[in-house]
Symmetry: C2
Subunit: 443 residues, 2 copies
C-alpha cells in the first residue's frame, strides 16, 4: 500500500482528491488529506474508505517532518510560500513531492539534494503553469522532430466566466483570487518580437492588445503577461525571434480596466487615510484634478478623453464607482478598495460556472522551409461550484502526475517542470479522456 | 577654542567651509574637515591656518567615536544613509550635530537620548529641505500671529540652469545628482486640495502641471512632489484644506519628460540584456510596438499622439535618442541608460552656472476675514563652478546654524527641523545679507 498525502484541501484540491480516491482501490493507495481545517478535509473525502483527513499546520515543524516521514508521495496545495518547507522535509526523507506552483528560487536550491536522494520535486503541474507547458512542448517537440524550425510562439491563458453566465458589461467575473486580478501586470512585461526586445510598462500594458478568437466561443483579447523571456530557457527556445505570453479577456475589458490603471486605483503601496468613511465617488475623485465646476464623471472624461468612451463609461457605471456608497474598509490601499468594489459586482453567483481559455500560436517553417501557422485552443467550462474549470485544470494534471509517480511509470530526480515527453505525453493523453482537449488548427 | 568638525568635503561643503573659516578667527574656532579623500578636504581649506584636513572613513567605528569625542560640534555632509552612525556617536559623547538632510526614522529614535544629554540633532538645514521650511514658517507664523487663518499653502523648488546658460530646448541641465532627477516622482504623490485628498500616480504626475512665473525670470511650471501630506505635521497645519509641494521646471519640460515616463524608460527595476551593444534607437524601440512598416519615430508618435508634438519631438531629437549611437553600458536598467543619454546632453559645461528657484504661495484670511494671497519667491544663481547656487543654498543656512549653536545663541535639545523662530529668524536675516533674499508680493 502506498500513502499519498495531500496538504491543503482548498478549492483547487477537489478534482485532485476525487481523481486519486477513484483510482485508490485499483492501485492500493491510502489518501491522507491534511488541512488546518480538518472538517474541510473530511468533507472532501466524502466518506471514502481509502481517504483519511487530519489536522495539518505547516508552521508546526515536527508535524511537517512526521507527516512527510509517513508518506510515500506528498502533494502540496498550500499557499505557494509554504512549498519550500514541505519540499525540504521531502528531500530529507527521500519522498517525492508534487505542486501546481511556479518553481521558486529557494526550491531550485534543493536540486542537488533531490538528485542525490533520487527523488523528484515536480512543479508547475496545474493549468498555468502546467497544461500550458505540456501542450506547448508537445507541439514544439513535434515541429523539431520533423525537422521544422519554430520562429514565433504565442501562448495565452485566461480564467473567465462561462458563456451562459457572462451577463455583465465587463464580460468578466472573479473565478480565482481577486487580489491577484487587481494587481495583475504590475511591474514590466517583457517579450521578444521579430528579434527585438519589447518592454511594456504597466501603464501601457492594457493598450497593447492582440485580438483573437476561439471556434464556438467568439472573440477574445490578449494583453502581455509578465516575463515571457524566461520561457526561452524553459522551452529550450534560446534563439527564437518571437516569444510572447499573454492573458486572455473578452474584448473591451482591457480598455476599461486601463482607466483604473491610469488613475492609480490599483496601487497597493500606500494607505488612504479615512478610507473607511470615504464614498466610492470620493475614492475616484482622489485621483482626479480639483475643478470646482466639473462633476467627478466630467473630470474623469476630461482626464482620460481617449479612454473613457460610452462603452467604458457603461462598464464603470455598472460598478457604481460614482455612487455615494461607503467603502467601509479602514486603512485600505487603493488596490484593496478597488477589490472591494469589484467583489460586489464581479462575484460568481450560486450556480454560475467558470471557464478556462488557453491558446497557443506556433509560426514555423518545415523541413522544406515552407512556412506554417498552427493554433491550438483549449476551452474548459466548470461543472459546478466545486468542480470548477480552474479546479479541474489545476487538479487533474497534478493528479495524473501523482499516479505516474506512484505507479513508478515516471521518476525524474531533481527539481523539474513538465516539459519532457515522458511526463507531458501520458498526462495530455489522459486529460483528453477527461474532456480536456486542445483543438488544433493549421492556418 | 571650539572644534567644529565637518564630515564630507564634497560639492555642497564649499560654501559651508568658506563661511566657517571666515568666521573662525573672531569666534576662536578650529575647523576640522574629514573626508575619505584627504586631499579634497585639504584643497577646500585653501591654506587657512584655522582649518585642518584629516582622513575620515565612516565605516571605521573607532575613528567615528574618536572624531566625535574630539569635537564640540559635528556637521555631517556624508551621504544621508551615514548620518545615523555619526548621530549615535554624537549622542554618546554629548556633542551637537547638524545636517542638511531629511530626518530619518532611525534618527527620530535618538530623540529621548538627545534630550537627556541636552544636545540638539539639527536636520534639514539646507535648501530643500531647509530654506523652504524656514521661509514658509516665517510667513505662516506672521499670518497666525496677526490672527489670520491659512487656507492654502503651495511650496515649490527647482534646481535649474542660470538664464545666461539656458541654451537647450529642454531649458534644463543637470545641476545635482542626475540619478535622482531620472527617478524623480516614482511612487505616488499626495496632497490635499480644498479638503479633498489627491493621489497622483507617477504616470499622471507630469501632466498635472501648474504654471507660475517669477519676476525678472519669466515663466515656470510646477509638478507635484511626493508626499505633501506629511508637511501638515511639520508646519503644524493639521486641518489646512489645501497643501501642495511641487518641483519647478521651465515650461514644456514635463510634457517632454512624460514621454520617457509613459514609455517606461525611467524604470530602474530590471536590467536590459545586451544593453552594452544596443543603440539609442534600439533602446527607444524596445518600448514601442512591433510594426514592420513604421519607423521608430512614427511608432512613438502613434503610441503617444497627444504627447509627442513638434516641440516635444525637437527636445527628443536634441538628445539624439533616435540615433545609432551605442549605449556602451553593460547590464544597465532603462533608468541607467536614460541617465547616460541625458548626461551627454544636459551637462553643465565649464563656466556655466546653476540656479535655484523657490516659490511659496499662501492663501489666507486676515483677522477681519478678508481674503489675501501672498507669494514669496527666491532665485539664487551660482557664482562659479565651486560656488554653485546649490552649494550656497545648502551650505550657508547650515553654516549660520552652526554659528548659532557654536556661539550658544541656539540650543534645542532633541531631534529637530528649523521651523521655530529662534532658528529660522536669525538664519533668514543673515541669508539676506548674503544675497539670499525672498521677494514677497501681495496679489
Amino acid at each position: 500500500m502506498k500513502v499519498i498525502t495531500i496538504l491543503g484541501a482548498g478549492l483547487s484540491a477537489t478534482s485532485l482528491i476525487n481523481y486519486l480516491l477513484q483510482h485508490s482501490e485499483e492501485n492500493d493507495w491510502h489518501i491522507k488529506i491534511g488541512d488546518i481545517d480538518e472538517q474541510l478535509a473530511k468533507r472532501k473525502i466524502n466518506g471514502s474508505k481509502r481517504g483519511k483527513a487530519f489536522y495539518f499546520n505547516v508552521s508546526d515543524d515536527n508535524l511537517v517532518e512526521k507527516t512527510v516521514a509517513e508518506s510515500d508521495i506528498v502533494v502540496s496545495l498550500l499557499p505557494a510560500r509554504f512549498h519550500f518547507v514541505v519540499a525540504q522535509a521531502c528531500v530529507n526523507h527521500g519522498v517525492p513531492m508534487l505542486t501546481a506552483s511556479y518553481v521558486s528560487k529557494e526550491m531550485l536550491e534543493l536540486q542537488d539534494e533531490a538528485i542525490a536522494k533520487g527523488i523528484g520535486i515536480y512543479n508547475e503541474l496545474g493549468v498555468d503553469p502546467g497544461i500550458d507547458h505540456m501542450s506547448a512542448m508537445k507541439i514544439i517537440d513535434q515541429i523539431r522532430n520533423t525537422g521544422g524550425t519554430l520562429t514565433a510562439f504565442f501562448s495565452s491563458t485566461g480564467g473567465l466566466v462561462a458563456p451562459a453566465f457572462d451577463d455583465n458589461p465587463w464580460n468578466y467575473k472573479f473565478t480565482w483570487n481577486p487580489r491577484n486580478v487587481v494587481l495583475a501586470g504590475q511591474g514590466v512585461s517583457k517579450f521578444i518580437r521579430n528579434g527585438d526586445y519589447k518592454f511594456i510598462p504597466y501603464t501601457q500594458l492594457f493598450s497593447r492588445i492582440i485580438p483573437t478568437s476561439v471556434e464556438g466561443y467568439g472573440d477574445f483579447e490578449i494583453y502581455p503577461n509578465r516575463d515571457s523571456l524566461a520561457y526561452r530557457k524553459t522551452y529550450n527556445l534560446d534563439n527564437i525571434p518571437t516569444i510572447f505570453r499573454g492573458t486572455i479577456r473578452r474584448p473591451g475589458f482591457a480598455k476599461a480596466w486601463n482607466v483604473f490603471v491610469q488613475l492609480g486605483a490599483t496601487d497597493d503601496s500606500y494607505i488612504i487615510e479615512n478610507s473607511e468613511s470615504m464614498t466610492y465617488r470620493q475614492f475616484i475623485n482622489t485621483f482626479l484634478p480639483f475643478r470646482e465646476n466639473e462633476s467627478v464623471e466630467e473630470k474623469l472624461i476630461n482626464l482620460l478623453p481617449h479612454l473613457v468612451d460610452e462603452e467604458v463609461m457603461q462598464k464603470l457605471h455598472f460598478l457604481e464607482i460614482f455612487s455615494n456608497k461607503t467603502i467601509g474598509l479602514p486603512s485600505a490601499s487603493p488596490a484593496q478598495i478597488l477589490q472591494k468594489i469589484l467583489e460586489d459586482k464581479w462575484q460568481l453567483k450560486e450556480g454560475e460556472r467558470d471557464m478556462i481559455v488557453m491558446q497557443h500560436r506556433f509560426e514555423f517553417s518545415d523541413s522544406d522551409n515552407k512556412p506554417h501557422i498552427k493554433v491550438a485552443s483549449l476551452v474548459v467550462e466548470g461543472e459546478s461550484k466545486e468542480i470548477t474549470a480552474m479546479a479541474k485544470t489545476v487538479g487533474l494534471p497534478l493528479a495524473i502526475a501523482v499516479k505516474l509517480v506512484a505507479t513508478g511509470k515516471v521518476n525524474i530526480p531533481g527539481v523539474s517542470v513538465p516539459v519532457v515527453p515522458e511526463l507531458y505525453q501520458p498526462i495530455l493523453d489522459e486529460l483528453e479522456t477527461l474532456g480536456i482537449v486542445f483543438k488544433e488548427e493549421d492556418l
